[in-house]
């Protein structure tokens, strides 16, 4: 397996959506290829840091205002859903 082959499979590897044999081949590659190990590890950290970052959280006051506006528009809508 080349580094380029490894890279193509990286997303499926991180998402654990591959068969056991392919997974074993990728893990074998990781044992000796330092660059792929770093790329794999830091890609995983990239995903985790965004997932856990609370980036663009909706503040409570804005949340309340938006919900009031949404429900007011829905009530103003002619009848229930069409």
């Amino acid at each position: 397996m080349t580094c380029s082959d490894f890279l193509k499979e990286l997303t499926d590897y991180l998402d654990d959506s591959m068969d056991a044999q392919t997974r074993a081949e990728l893990e074998d590659h990781l044992q000796w290829c330092h660059n792929c190990y770093v790329v794999c590890n830091t890609t995983k950290m990239t995903i985790e840091i965004y997932r856990d970052s609370h980036l663009y959280e909706l503040p409570d006051d804005l949340r309340g205002r938006l919900r009031t506006a949404i429900m007011s528009k829905c009530k103003g809508h002619d009848g229930s859903c069409t």
Partner: protein
């Protein structure tokens, strides 16, 4: 090396009951659906539009459109996936209005060899959160994702931030599964590359295992 664990739980069992009640005209049932998903819709909208005002408008318009079109929701997908599809379309429309000079499309598939080829291969400091304050970190993450093409950051936010499956993401964006996977790989690698400039280990050593 471990895999990524999705963070989004399955929808509560009462979701379909709320949808049915809302369809029958129970507006408080719809309000419960708004409460359940407004944070998610706002996050998705802000990621795509990169503009707070637009994101607020998207949240309002997406829920109103969902309410007006509830009768057309065939329940073949989760309500949330259907809502995300509406929100993404609204967000992309706002983005196009703001950037008329640039073609903004989910079909955008920028293919260059170098965008996927890792150049930065230094390992990161054990915990990037310790290098920066929470505010600084959010600033870095925001600026970094802003630099990605809209089609890449949309796939990334649905899959990796909101935790939709590949199939749900493909369904919400009307893309094929290979297209979702291809954009996701490149989004992840480009973000990794850019974040490495901030997070790479500067404490010495060659970082080898």
């Amino acid at each position: 090396m471990g895999t990524i664990q999705p963070r989004v739980a399955e929808p509560a069992g009462d979701e379909l009951a709320l949808v049915h009640a809302a369809k029958a005209g129970d507006i408080s049932a719809f309000e419960q659906l708004v409460r359940r998903y407004d944070r998610n819709v706002f996050r998705i909208a802000q990621h795509i539009t990169q503009n707070r005002e637009d994101a607020e408008d998207v949240v309002q318009d997406a829920f109103l459109k969902a309410y007006q079109n509830l009768a057309n929701f065939q329940e073949q997908s989760k309500f949330y996936t259907w809502l995300v599809r509406i929100a993404v379309n609204e967000a992309l429309m706002r983005l196009r209005r703001r950037r008329p000079e640039r073609m903004v499309s989910l079909d955008e598939d920028i293919k260059t060899e170098e965008d996927s080829m890792p150049r930065e291969v230094a390992d990161w400091a054990p915990n990037p959160e310790q290098l920066y304050s929470q505010g600084e970190l959010k600033d870095i993450l925001g600026k970094t994702i802003q630099g990605l093409p809209p089609s890449f950051r949309t796939v990334f936010v649905l899959r990796d931030v909101e935790g939709l499956s590949t199939e749900e993401t493909a369904d919400a964006l009307d893309l094929s599964i290979p297209a979702v996977k291809s954009r996701l790989l490149r989004a992840r690698l480009q973000l990794r590359e850019r974040l490495s400039k901030y997070f790479k280990n500067r404490t010495g050593g060659d970082g080898k295992k």
